[in-house]
């Protein structure tokens, strides 16, 4: 068996052999999930296999000393340690390989619209080149414009890069927050050093509660137990000793693994692997190979960029052809093309989207969701299935007394997080006896120096059940340590798995009572065997059949709740047989351990967090399926699932139905059962289709007794249903599942570094409810991004139409390319970000998650409504301003048509207007700039209206409240102030093409702004009035 296993081990890591081999033994199965994903990294693996030939567990202490040049007693010398550190590097997992910063930066430079703008810039320079070749006096305008476009690309690229770097830094700083310490022996002295400084050959000491700082070979151990769950997924504690027990390094008892925790006892060990060379390090680095693919929002943005770029290029090309066929020179046609591209590309939008996402990320961080990848913010919102861990995420991750049974009655205890008193009936004398047993028969102790800490938060030395009992009794009776002092312990037998009980003998605190008190707790059936009487209302009564039956019923009931039940009994030892000086000997057990008096039962559970049931209900109404995936026993899992509402009160599993109808399970129609509890063993047997069937047919699913690798299978199953899957995880072996998930959520407190590395999000408080607030934020940002994009796209038409009319009708150019850039990157930036602060229009948690292929960020309705409705209205308003200026200054619309060639001819210095006045070319140029400025101001004014209408998509603006989002008003103020500065401040700088404007021209477009607002209110009114109508389908975006 041993040999086989070791073979299996190598199979797992190099992933070459077949899955069948892995099915043979228990240890192998753990790596099954990993395998598929690691299979393709072959070259990497050869190297790994070599490294994995770990034989340190077979060596004895002497050989180890020789191998690592160390001394077991004195440790390494500091100089040697420093040498090795320099050779091997620090003992830390290197973060997954990042794309180099330059690549990241360049990606930003060419991604999105950048390509289009680069093309525009290059066209500008080419145009200038041609002009210059023809005529040495060519104006430099095109060169400037090219530079401006290039600057825009570089600037937005730097900005996006900076934003991304900033969010990466958050997580980096987070993981560095708690430097771990290790107790190491060097130069014959014990020293506390940061765990990162450990090197191979160091002798380290670990004790209960520590995380093992590196892979260590145990040299000495005292009752040392470790929790290997982060590595193997097995939550049962495993003992560690210095004996070589197994060929497979993973199975042998004398190796402790990096990042696993020591639960109790102490051990001394020699470091045999550090950092990435540890077993965990290798698994983690392999796990990071699971592809990092595009987030839903990235796909949406790409989709949007495609739409806009498509529109830009096609309109550009169409008009290029029109211009050429209208006998415009090719050179001029190229310049038109540039104008069309610049007008069509929302230069500032991607920056605004980034800012909006990072604002949401910040908001989520405040609510304990730390987002590593900005785009994951939205992914959470589109989540349709959450695969959640049980322990720690849904539950409080601490055992707590949930029920008591004494006097033939079940009492319920308070299991909330911050209990200060228990309110069940404590008047019975039986409770007095029971409480004494609970207090005394307990080895757990509070760590000293925590007087001011609330009881529930005090740190306890001891195992989980004992801790629970200690805290329970401390809450009820106060100062337990004092009680214990008064009842001195004279003998003790600790719990062990053969006895299945724990016993201690105490003096009593009653000075008149010289008897000893023997107290015992343990597995209820074992305890009952040892009893002949039972205490009812403080009276000892013989244990007859009916009381035994009452016990059985209570035991079954509590066990059925998934709780761990403990029995308690006691015996006052007769004074004459056991005098003061009686030498109790625990080896020979020279005292009675039968015919005791049974007192009661206590049941323990890791109770759900109090916020979770609400959160689960919210998820359900939000159309999110919550699936529990746990390594726990199915009964416990089901009980917790029921108490948090993952399995709702009235739904049944196939087994429940079978039980109710009293028919075999096979006869039940699986579709009748809403809920399902699937065991890990069953899951192993299932084919892909069967799993799919389970996932489709049942809405409430619990996977119990699963290994972390099966999580990956479950995630893949969910993804086959086209779901966006969020997965929580903490162990190293969860990392493939976290990577595979659309959004991996690592636990901030319990999570391992590998899990945090693999995840997209870190839950700082490990609380499931935080995920739900995250979902809410994610959905909100999706809605708000729609608004931002709709807002930004609208004015593109108002920027584009001038060029089209200019080309076709030959009017003087209404707005210049530079001016357009001042709208896109000036007045419109802050308002578009302000929309990210908009509150939800209705309860966004009451609708289904968006379908990732059908509910697009930018859909046809949004594009059409922005471009062809509001955009056209805006263009008309802006043209009204344009014609007003030209008319009032002397050029009536009729005069402007087809005036272009004369207007732009620098050799005509006496161009006649409608009044017969004659204009020089420069006078015309300034008039043109007044036109630009007024067109710009008109767009700005109408964008204010656009901003206000975009606050809502369905509700009236009055339902939403005009003043709830203050940032909108900052946005509006910024629009006006920037426009004022451009017009009056920079009006004299000719390169900017702005001029001061007569006051009344600022107001020309206001009627159109009002029309825009009215039209949109009308649209929303009809949408609300006639849901599902033709109007709703075509006008709701």
């Amino acid at each position: 068996m041993g040999k086989k296993k070791s073979e299996v081990y190598s199979v797992e890591v190099n992933g070459i052999k077949d899955i069948e081999t892995t099915n043979e033994g228990d240890g192998k199965e753990k790596y099954r999930g990993l395998k598929d994903h690691l299979g393709h990294k072959k070259d990497h693996q050869k190297e790994l296999k070599k490294e994995l030939d770990l034989d340190d567990h077979k060596l004895n202490a002497k050989e180890l000393e020789d191998k690592y040049g160390t001394n077991i007693i004195r440790g390494l010398t500091s100089t040697k340690a420093a040498e090795i550190l320099a050779r091997d590097g620090p003992n830390a997992l290197s973060p997954p390989k990042e794309t180099s910063e330059i690549i990241k930066f360049l990606k930003q430079m060419v991604g999105g619209f950048s390509i289009l703008l680069w093309a525009g810039a290059v066209l500008c320079w080419i145009a200038f080149g041609i002009q210059f070749a023809k005529d040495k006096s060519a104006s430099m305008d095109n060169v400037y414009l090219g530079f401006v476009l290039a600057l825009v690309v570089i600037f937005t690229g730097i900005f996006a890069y900076y934003q991304e770097a900033k969010s990466t830094n958050i997580i980096a700083s987070f993981s560095k927050m708690i430097p771990r310490q290790a107790l190491v022996i060097r130069d014959g002295e014990k020293k506390e050093i940061p765990a990162g400084q450990l090197v191979v050959g160091d002798i380290v000491e670990i004790k209960g509660g520590d995380q093992i700082p590196a892979d260590i070979r145990i040299l000495a151990s005292h009752g040392c137990k470790v929790d290997n769950s982060s590595l193997t997924g097995e939550s049962e504690a495993q003992s560690r000793s210095c004996d070589f027990t197994h060929e497979n390094p993973l199975e042998t008892k004398n190796i402790g693994f990096y990042s696993t925790t020591c639960l109790e006892g102490t051990a001394t060990g020699m470091v045999i692997n550090t950092g990435d060379r540890t077993i965990i390090g290798r698994i983690a680095s392999l796990a990071s190979g699971v592809g990092n693919e595009k987030t839903p929002i990235a796909i949406e943005i790409e989709h949007f960029v495609h739409i806009v770029a498509g529109v830009a290029v096609s309109i550009g090309v169409i008009f290029f052809i029109i211009a050429v066929s209208m006998k415009y020179p090719v050179l001029e046609s190229i310049i038109f093309l540039i104008g069309i591209i610049v007008a069509n590309v929302p230069e500032g939008l991607l920056a605004a989207v980034t800012v909006s996402l990072s604002l949401t990320a910040k908001r989520m961080a405040k609510k304990n969701c730390l987002v590593k990848n900005l785009e994951a913010v939205e992914t959470l919102g589109s989540t349709s299935i959450i695969c959640s861990d049980k322990t720690g995420t849904l539950t409080q991750n601490r055992m707590t007394v949930a029920h008591l049974w004494f006097d033939n009655q079940i009492y319920q205890a308070d299991t909330s997080e911050d209990q200060e008193a228990q309110i069940f009936d404590q008047s019975s004398a039986t409770w007095a006896s029971l409480s004494k047993i609970v207090t005394l028969c307990n080895r757990a102790e509070f760590r000293p120096g925590q007087e001011t800490v609330p009881i529930m938060k005090k740190i306890v030395v001891g195992d989980a059940s004992e801790t629970a009992l200690l805290k329970f009794s401390e809450v009820i009776m106060g100062d337990i340590m004092e009680t214990r002092k008064r009842n001195r312990k004279v003998a003790e037998i600790p719990f062990n798995s053969t006895n299945k009980f724990q016993l201690s003998i105490h003096e009593t605190d009653d000075p008149n009572d010289k008897r000893f008190l023997l107290v015992m707790k343990g597995a209820p059936e074992r305890i009952l065997e040892k009893c002949s009487t039972i205490m009812i209302n403080g009276q000892e009564q013989p244990l007859n059949e009916s009381s035994a039956e009452a016990f059985q019923t209570a035991y079954m009931e509590l066990g059925g709740l998934g709780e761990r039940v403990l029995g308690f009994c006691h015996l006052y030892l007769p004074e004459d047989e056991f005098p003061d000086t009686y030498p109790f000997d625990v080896e020979t057990m020279n005292f009675p351990t039968s015919d005791l008096c049974f007192v009661g039962l206590l049941s323990l559970i890791d109770p759900p967090r109090s916020t979770v049931p609400d959160a689960v209900t919210k998820c359900r109404s939000a159309g999110i399926k919550v699936i529990m995936v746990t390594g726990d026993h199915p009964i416990t899992a089901k009980a917790i699932a029921k108490s948090v509402g993952i399995i709702s009160a009235n739904s049944e599993t196939v087994e429940d139905i079978a039980k109710r109808l009293n028919v075999p399970v096979e006869q039940v129609n699986k579709r009748d059962a809403k809920a399902a509890v699937v065991n890990g063993m069953e899951l192993k047997e299932m084919s892909q289709e069967q799993l799919d069937e389970v996932l489709i047919n049942h809405t409430e699913i619990v996977f119990a007794r699963t290994s972390p690798q099966q999580k990956l299978i479950i995630v893949e199953g969910c993804q086959r249903q086209d779901a966006v899957v969020a997965v929580t995880g903490d162990g190293v072996n969860d990392s493939p599942a976290l990577k595979k998930a659309d959004i991996g959520i690592a636990m901030g407190i319990a999570g391992s570094d590998a899990a945090k590395n693999a995840a997209d999000m870190v839950l700082l408080d490990d609380n499931f409810a935080s995920i739900v607030t995250g979902v809410e934020e994610g959905r909100l940002i999706f809605d708000n991004l729609k608004k931002t994009i709709a807002f930004t796209l609208t004015k593109n038409i108002a920027e584009l139409c001038p060029f089209l009319i200019f080309i076709i009708a030959g009017i003087p150019l209404p707005i210049g390319t530079i001016t357009i850039l001042f709208i896109d990157l000036g007045t419109d930036i802050i308002p578009s970000i302000a929309l990210a602060y908009e509150k939800a229009e209705s309860d966004i948690m009451n609708r289904k998650p968006r379908h990732k292929k059908k509910d697009r960020l930018v859909n046809q309705q949004l594009a059409l409504y922005s471009y062809l409705h509001i955009g056209i209205l805006q263009s008309l308003g802006a043209f009204l301003a344009y014609f007003t200026v030209y008319t009032e200054q002397g050029f009536r619309p009729t005069r402007l048509i087809f005036l272009r060639s004369e207007w732009e001819d620098g050799n005509i210095n006496d161009l006649e207007d409608s009044y017969g006045q004659e204009w020089t070319r420069y006078q015309r140029k300034y008039l043109e700039w007044i036109g630009y400025t007024s067109f710009f101001v008109a767009i700005m004014v109408q964008q204010i209206a656009d901003l206000i209408i975009r606050k809502t998509r369905r509700n009236s603006i009055f339902q939403q409240g005009l003043f709830r989002n203050k940032v909108i008003w900052i946005g509006i103020a910024s629009q006006i102030i920037i426009a004022l500065i451009l017009s009056y401040g920079f009006g004299s700088i000719t390169a900017m093409n702005f001029t001061t404007l007569r006051v009344q021209y600022w107001f020309v477009a206001i009627p159109y702004a009002i029309v825009i607002w009215l039209y949109d209110e009308f649209r929303k009114l009809l949408i609300r009035r006639y849901p599902g109508s033709w109007w709703d389908k075509n006008m709701y975006y």
């Binding site: 040495k136 659309d742 014609f883 009032e888 200054q889 050799n907 017969g916 004659e918």
Partner: protein, 292 residues
């Protein structure tokens, strides 16, 4: 973060596109059935008709506020521009280069002048009245026929030697060319607040002319003034036959085979010639090179 990537082959994409263009199952053409297309087109037509109506109404209202005789604002026309005939533009502004002995090199220049002056023949000026008073011709009422105002005659013969009547070559042949200076029309513009007529003053641009001998010029009409009775201009509608007064300058001592820069300014109280942003305001600069 994973697997939302939709990897499709090119043929799949083409198939999808074809399906989009025409979906035989639902009868959808480009995503809509025919009747839906009709509906949506009807809506758009209606929407745009209403919008165009609204825009037309807005423009109509705008036109109603406009005075047909005078523009509302003359923000860019504080001071008139000045133009030159003949006007040949080179790389940097006006450049008049010709060779005295090569007739073809100046034939076009004189032709320009002839064409330009064709608007100033007695026949062309027939509708205008003769004016001899040397002061502003202020007309409050529309006394002229067809509810217009009177304009004063300016005929080519007032330019005497530069009229092209006595010397059809405008002096180009002997290297003493005539140039015609025209001041741009601006409605209601008065060159000065007193009764001083605006005068043309042509000089060499000093900086480019080291051995400075002042330019000798003969102005026509004499003194190079624009008579005040041509001002103010009341606009095209009030004065449909108005023609700008002209001044001709005959340069007598242009050095041969040398490029000179000449600037002709209008000297008048309300005419500025030092706007750095507009070189054509109140003055005209040009390069002149006469070869022999």
């Amino acid at each position: 973060m994973a697997a939302l990537q939709e990897k499709k082959t090119c043929s799949q994409r083409m198939e999808e596109f074809r399906h989009y263009c025409w979906n035989p199952d639902t009868g959808q053409l480009l995503g809509r059935t025919l009747s839906k297309w009709v509906w949506i087109s009807l809506y758009y037509v209606a929407f745009y008709v209403v919008m165009s109506g609204l825009f037309a109404l807005a423009i109509y209202t705008l036109m109603c506020t406009i005075d047909p005789y005078t523009p509302d604002y003359q923000d860019q026309l504080k001071s008139p521009g000045v133009t030159l005939r003949p006007d040949v533009y080179g790389e940097r502004g006006l450049e008049i280069f010709y060779n005295v002995s090569d007739k073809t090199s100046w034939k076009d220049l004189t032709q320009t002048l002839h064409t330009f002056l064709s608007g100033y023949t007695p026949a062309a000026q027939e509708e205008n009245i003769n004016c001899s008073f040397e002061q502003y011709f202020i007309q409050k009422e529309f006394r002229a026929p067809n509810h217009t105002k009177f304009s004063c005659k300016f005929t080519a013969d007032m330019l005497q030697n530069c009229s092209g009547l006595t010397d059809p070559n405008f002096g180009f042949e002997e290297g003493k060319p005539c140039f015609i200076i025209k001041m741009n029309r601006i409605v209601n513009f008065l060159p000065s607040n007193n009764n001083t007529a605006p005068r043309v003053d042509c000089t060499f641009l000093e900086e480019n002319h080291k051995d400075f001998t002042p330019l000798e010029v003969d102005y026509y009409p004499s003194n190079g003034t624009f008579s005040l009775h041509y001002f103010p201009y009341y606009g095209k509608k009030a004065q449909p036959h108005y023609s700008n007064p002209l001044v001709a300058a005959k340069f007598l001592n242009i050095p041969k085979n040398k490029e000179v820069i000449i600037v002709c300014k209008i000297i008048a109280e309300n005419v500025s010639f030092d706007n750095p942003h507009d070189p054509y305001e109140g003055k005209v600069e040009f390069k002149l090179k006469i070869q022999k």
